[in-house]
């Protein structure tokens, strides 16, 4: 049985989707959560669903000042789950530096800066567990996703480097690479892609498109002592999608 009692867990991107699901599950498993997100109202909606002690801190991870402020306000933690992320699909020929900066700041740099800050401020306890979110698309491209997938591939590489250094403190670092999960990011795609394209994509999943709780369950396991021998790994979660790819 996964037990997260007496653990303080920081969850970014907790105002929706996978982050919200992680917050609710960690809370149910006994953890004290520190939830952050950009949208105060939605973050508050997550907060209302939590029963244990929980701290809610609005933060805009696209700004370094906001990251530093967040770091200054949190207690020492036993778990860090970085769910904040943006997709911003863009064909290659339209990419400008601004687009690279925007997507890398949220998806990659904020994860790195929070990790660095947690270590330097000694706000991450020995035996802690860190979980990042990548995407199967880091290795399997899709149209318009070159920047997004690059940022996730970078985060996967960072995970291994961070895991190596953090192992001295018995801190574990892993990353989950999900395929399509039913969140508002998918809803946005449903407006761009045609019904036929969406149906074709759904048909490629033997176990259907993922739900946020599917990812949250794996994250809870990675946060718990049950996964105490696992670090530096990328866990693909794809409902069987890649079984069909060559």
């Amino acid at each position: 049985m996964i037990d997260l009692k007496n653990k303080k867990i920081l969850i970014t991107g907790a105002s929706s989707g996978i982050g919200r699901s992680v917050a609710i599950l960690c809370d149910e498993l006994g953890a004290e959560t520190i939830i952050t997100g950009r949208n105060e109202e939605e973050l508050n909606n997550t907060h209302l669903l939590l029963k244990n002690r929980s701290k809610q801190l609005t933060a805009d991870l696209s700004k370094e000042d906001s990251i530093n402020e967040l770091l200054s306000k949190i207690p020492s933690i036993d778990g860090f789950v970085h769910c904040a992320g943006i997709i911003n699909p863009l064909p290659v020929k339209f990419i400008k530096k601004k687009h690279i900066d925007d997507i890398f700041m949220i998806n990659f740099s904020s994860a790195v800066l929070l990790s660095s800050g947690l270590l330097s401020l000694k706000k991450i306890n020995p035996q802690a567990s860190v979980v990042f979110i990548s995407s199967v698309s880091a290795h399997h491209p899709y149209t318009g996703g070159s920047l997004y997938t690059s940022s996730k591939a970078a985060l996967e590489a960072f995970t291994r480097g961070f895991a190596l250094e953090a192992s001295a403190k018995k801190i574990r670092v892993n990353i989950i690479a999900p395929a399509l999960v039913r969140t508002n990011i998918l809803e946005q795609s449903e407006q761009i892609y045609s019904k036929e394209e969406i149906a074709e994509i759904e048909n490629r999943y033997p176990f259907g498109i993922g739900e946020p709780i599917d990812i949250a369950n794996a994250i809870a396991f990675l946060l718990s002592p049950l996964s105490g021998w696992i670090t530096g790994t990328t866990l693909n979660m794809d409902g069987g999608l890649l079984l069909n790819s060559k």
């Binding site: 699909p89 863009l90 064909p91 339209f94 795609s189 407006q191 761009i192 394209e197």
Partner: protein, 77 residues
């Protein structure tokens, strides 16, 4: 940018469309080989030229290039 210019520039961005194929009244989703890439190009083109973000709902509600143009103009007012 007037509607003729808008249509012409969009046609250039689509690349694989024969020059002179698009008119303001073209139902753009029925052009040959229409795919999500075209939708992404429209969104990126409008962002670059008008500093305005079209969402999927905007694309859904617009049938012709004129509809698209009108949405963009309305959004930039």
């Amino acid at each position: 940018m007037n509607i003729e210019e808008f249509t012409q520039k969009l046609e250039t961005e689509f690349e694989e469309v024969e020059p002179g194929t698009l008119t303001p009244d073209t139902h753009y989703k029925s052009i040959k080989g229409w795919s999500s890439m075209h939708a992404l190009i429209i969104i990126a083109f409008v962002d670059a030229q008008f500093d305005t973000i079209l969402n999927g709902g905007d694309l859904k509600s617009a049938s012709t290039i004129r509809d698209l143009y009108n949405i963009v103009i309305e959004k930039t007012k």
